[in-house]
Amino acid sequence: MAYVAVKGGERAIRNAHTWLAEERRGDPAVPDLGLDQIREQLGRAIDRVMAEGSLYDPDLAALAIKQAQGDLIEAAFLLRAYRTTLPRFAHARPVDTAAMRAARRISAIFKDLPGGQTLGPTYDYTHRLLDFELAENQPPPDAPRAAPDLSPVPRVPDILGREGLLEADGPMDAEPGDLTREPLSFPAGRDIRLQALARGDEGFLLAMGYSTQRGYGGSHPFAGEVRMGEVSVEIEPPELGFAIDIGDLTVTECQMVNQFKGSKTQLPQFTRGYGLVFGFSERKAMSMALVDRAMRAEELGEDVTAPAQNPEFVLYHSDNIEATGFVEHLKLPHYVDFQSELQNVRRLREAVERREAAE
């Protein structure tokens, strides 16, 4: 019988898994990739997986990347699934990015400013020429060092804010929501929107942010400040009554400053779009800030015409773990429904043929 159903028992699945493991390892003559190598040398991949996996743990991210053969969405999925099983023993206090030990800090809206401009380890001004010396495993040249300046660098929006030219941060008293515990509902508060964006797919946010620059919901953005560095995470156990430092995170923050013409009740001033992402990911932090600002259109009395301005559209489609699962589920068997459609189309065709024969 020629029919081979796409039905596999446990053995088929097991075989597929062992084949996958072999393929993952590649040529055994090539040394196995260590997690420390991934963590140390594929830092941007680690950062992306931690951000989209919504779990800050470089070692686990390295394992996930290795296990997923460098498929970063698959790796983020591994982290997410693991994250679900972790107990929550406390909620952190809001991290204070003004107290960041910044490795990079730039502002596009002032030539110079208190704290200065720090380029940091950026690709920005590299010429994108393949470096064949890197292929030969040449050690990098020594980077010049200076005594670390640990004084906090004021945030540019805070400087602008003193003049009232920039809207203030919203009130902070309410407990922020958590869409990993409570499903999205609308209207979604800015806390939830920002959480969704911070976990969202970098490519999706990039495309959405880009679309606002091309006229689909434009908001005249200026990169008020982009900074990257370490912040402290603090918790305040109720039995202690004071905050304790439990560790450091590297984050990238972007504050976009956008024009706002003002309204009957409000003087013209600048508004903000905000981006904050685990690790060093400027592309995502900036995209996030653009999309955050675009989604505030309704709140600020602007016309809502573009996809990026529609929170329901953005939030329901920004999560790549949800998206990849549902897109890829189309490869699961659907033959029962297809059979229904086959019979249906046959029935419709018969009906038409009968009608034509009768005419």
Binding site: T85, A92, Q339
Partner: protein, 349 residues
């Protein structure tokens, strides 16, 4: 502000009994069927998540057909592959349950095998392929042919719980429509079908009215299965993980497929009898047997077909050879006895 998770629970303040089971390191030592995965709670989900889902399930049963939002968790299987059904099953399942998992009506389709393995590993429960033996049946795309009993629970995997989504993509809008029981859009769609095609053209995921109040997606089962939902003796639970919705139909509840008086609901099925067991009243898969147009029709419900054939063998002796190549036994080895290669089996290049 974000939650701080720990990789290993190492003390901390014990807030309540509930909390100390609410983590990944608790291993329940006494499981009669032994081995379930070390480091995870019974049936994978932590107790806090189960309580949340159980509360949603009770509300769902109390409001038949209404989609109850729930804090769907990220499961170790992809969204769209049954994460909603798995979470519902995990919250319902106990040590004494017997679980059956089907996909497309078959116990041995890859995803059914994978989900059954998941529960065998994480809950150590007894599994079966026989509809009659199961206390909990998780399904994707079919309702078994055998009439389900009172005290059985059927859990449907639901990709898209919103029956109106093709007509109105905004969930803010559809939620309002459900609140007002305003289903005009759907009636217009069906009416347009009739006007244009002379009949309603939906062949699966055919919308139903539950208890005369809520328009509901029956999940992508063929319309053929819709009548089984009406006044079903078993409890029907629906889980949509990615869309984060749970809904339910209590036993003996009226479930009506939408139609018009002059165009009554007509389920679709192949006219042919099953090529293996001869059943005429079961839903059929169309199986292409060669590339010259040859095909046969066989029961989509593999357990139903096997039971019928087994009964025939008892009466008339062994059936003709070749039968097993199509549906195969649903034993866990995946060996179909036909020697025919199966998908994905050639492991080493």
């Amino acid at each position: 502000m974000f939650a701080v998770c720990v990789r290993r629970w190492n003390g901390g303040r014990r807030r309540s009994d509930a909390d100390c089971y609410d983590n990944s390191t608790i291993f329940i030592p006494h499981c009669p069927r032994g081995t379930f995965m070390k480091g995870y709670n019974f049936a994978y989900l932590d107790e806090q998540t189960k309580r949340m889902i159980r509360r949603a399930l009770l509300k769902a049963v109390a409001i038949p057909g209404h989609q109850v939002p729930f804090g769907s968790r990220e499961m170790p299987l992809p969204y769209g592959w049954g994460t909603g059904g798995i979470q519902v099953t995990a919250s319902v399942l106990g040590r004494d349950d017997t679980l059956k998992v089907i996909d497309q009506g078959a116990d041995d389709t890859t995803n059914a095998v994978s989900i059954r393995q998941f529960f065998a590993r994480t809950a150590g429960v007894r599994t079966t392929t026989h509809t009659g033996e199961a206390t909990v049946i998780q399904t994707r795309h079919r309702i078994p042919e055998e009439t389900l009993r009172e005290n059985q629970i059927i859990v449907y995997q639901v990709p898209q719980p919103e029956p109106l989504y093709r007509l109105e993509p905004s969930r803010v809008e559809t939620k309002r429509m459900h609140a007002l029981a305003d289903y005009g859009l759907m009636h217009v769609k069906l009416y347009e079908d009739v006007a244009r095609l002379g009949q309603i053209s939906i062949s699966y995921d055919y919308p139903v009215m539950v208890n005369n109040r809520y328009l509901m997606s029956p999940s992508p089962i063929p319309a053929f299965d819709n009548p089984k939902m009406n006044r079903m003796p078993a409890l029907q639970l629906f889980g949509a993980g990615r869309e984060k919705r749970i809904y339910a139909i209590p036993p003996w509840t009226e479930v009506r497929s939408l139609d018009f008086d002059d165009h009554p609901f007509r389920p679709i099925n192949a006219h042919q009898a099953c090529g293996l067991c001869g059943a005429t009243d079961s839903y059929k898969d169309e199986v292409i047997t060669d590339d010259l147009g040859g095909r046969m029709f066989v029961c989509s419900d593999t357990d139903h077909c096997e039971q019928r054939r087994a009964a025939t063998v008892q009466r008339h002796g062994p059936a003709r050879p070749g039968h097993r190549a199509v549906s195969g036994p649903s034993d866990e080895t995946g060996d179909d006895g036909s020697g025919a290669p199966r998908h994905g089996e050639a492991a080493t290049p």
